[in-house]
């Protein structure tokens, strides 16, 4: 497929890998965080790590919305479906996230809750139109990529004066999460999480542009390279980061110029600020309460806000004790450091959220990389 296949070319990948190996100084280390789960997935799926010299280490970031959604928020949706007879619609990944009482939205469906998987928020609005006697709540999650479509659907519901549709909003913001990581004790005080640069988001940046990352380059002296989600995009971005680090530069560079500009999508940004406003604070799995890191629906569209409509209050619920998702999302632990990884916790039966979505670090390792750490020894046939 055009604009996909040519960005997965194996020959070119080997060439870029050779360039990285030639330019990376073996005497120093390059600790690079890919913020997005989309990059984590590409790195695992295409074996990018195997093409990198030992000096370059990739650290997986928290940019997976399903992974960072705290249990308390999913509990709200489950209770709406089971106790209030509401039709809850959401994206496929959200339905499998483990919540309280050994439930997930999918298990709530098995208990009789009306839970529906949708591809687009517009589909949730269609469900509301087809079921005028029922309340329909769209469980909205996602970073800046997914927020503009939610904004459009809320505006459409207002225009059409739909009375049985509302949104449980969990939209979160990328720059706030990057700040949280850069300000974390592991990075600032303890030094246990060395960070030399970031691979910046692909599709989030089509919306917000490259400008918001300039703060990180200037204030924290960390280079950022925005990259597409194909394997060659990731490798080129790694090469560009290695070059910046070698030169002692900390700039925002854009590898994904075919879709990202400095200003981003101004039309989408205007829509989002018309419908949403900043929350003072929002809970992230792994990061805890992060100030000004999420959006809520403005008063003007309050009729479509499920939190107002059903007077919902979020309870903070601790993760399963054995689960290391929190530390993995902060970049301080690796999926293989988790005791339940691949044993009790698998994509078929996840304990933690990082095993749910294909963008989660644990799911990516389980699907593509888990055999790499196991030496294969040839033995005599029995």
């Amino acid at each position: 497929m055009k604009y996909i296949d040519e960005f997965r070319d194996g020959e070119l990948a080997l060439g870029i890998a050779a360039a990285i190996a030639a330019e990376a100084d073996p005497g120093r280390s390059y600790n690079l965080m890919e913020f997005c789960g989309g990059h984590t997935h590409a790195i695992s799926r295409y074996g990018v790590t195997d093409l990198l010299p030992p000096a370059v280490r990739m650290i997986h970031g928290p940019g997976c919305p399903v992974c960072v959604l705290p249990i308390g928020r999913i509990d709200l949706a489950i209770r709406l479906a089971l106790d209030q007879g509401v039709i809850v619609a959401s994206y496929g990944d959200c339905l499998r996230v483990p919540a309280s009482d050994n439930l997930s939205l999918l298990k709530a469906k098995a208990r009789g809750g009306d839970v529906r998987m949708v591809y687009s928020p517009a589909d949730a609005l269609k469900i509301a139109a087809a079921n005028p006697e029922r309340e329909v709540v769209f469980l909205a999650i996602g970073f800046e990529t997914t927020t503009p479509p939610t904004a459009l659907v809320i505006k459409e519901a207002a225009r059409a004066e739909v009375t049985n549709f509302s949104v449980l909003c969990n939209h979160v913001l990328t720059p706030a999460a990057i700040t949280n990581i850069l300000e974390s004790p592991e990075v600032r005080r303890l030094g246990t999480l060395p960070l030399d640069g970031f691979i910046g988001p692909a599709h989030v940046s089509t919306v917000i542009g490259s400008r918001p990352y300039e703060f990180f380059a200037e204030e924290y002296a960390k280079p950022v390279v925005i990259a597409g989600f194909e394997p060659l995009d990731v490798m080129q971005a790694i090469l560009m980061l290695v070059r910046q680090i070698n030169d002692g530069r900390a700039e925002v560079e854009n590898e994904f110029t075919r879709a990202v500009t400095r200003d981003g999508n101004l039309k989408a940004q205007a829509l989002v600020s018309d419908v949403f406003e900043l929350r003072r604070s929002f809970e992230w799995r792994g990061l805890g309460m992060v100030p000004y890191s999420a959006l809520r629906i403005r008063e003007a569209y309050g009729a479509f806000d499920a939190e107002r409509r059903f007077r919902l209050e979020t309870r903070s619920v601790a993760d399963n004790k054995a689960c290391e998702c929190g530390a993995i999302l902060r970049g301080v632990k690796h999926p293989r450091d988790c005791k339940v990884f691949g044993t009790v916790c698998t994509p078929e039966s996840p304990i933690g959220s990082c095993m749910v979505s294909s963008e989660g670090a644990c799911a990516a390792y389980y699907s593509y990389g888990r055999f790499r750490e196991i030496p294969i020894v040839a033995g005599a046939p029995a």
Partner: protein, 74 residues
């Protein structure tokens, strides 16, 4: 979740809707978030909405960048 794919616009419809083609699969999507998209353009599609128009010249430039990095290392 932020996954999105490049698709080609093959037909413009009413209310900022369009038909796109992805390797023979045709689907109706919304162009409400982007301006100035025409038939033949590629857009980045996410949850039923085009988020950005794909710049064909920039894509060529990026591919050339890959090739030059690979050549220099060879």
């Amino acid at each position: 979740m932020c996954l999105a794919i490049p698709v080609r616009v093959v037909e413009l419809g009413f209310d900022e809707m369009a038909i796109v083609d992805l390797d023979g699969i045709r689907k109706e999507i919304s162009l409400a978030l982007v301006d100035g998209v025409g038939v033949g353009d590629y857009v980045i599609l996410h949850v039923g909405y085009a988020l950005a128009r794909l710049d064909a010249d920039e894509a060529e430039r990026t591919l050339a960048l890959f090739a030059s990095a690979a050549r220099e290392a060879a």
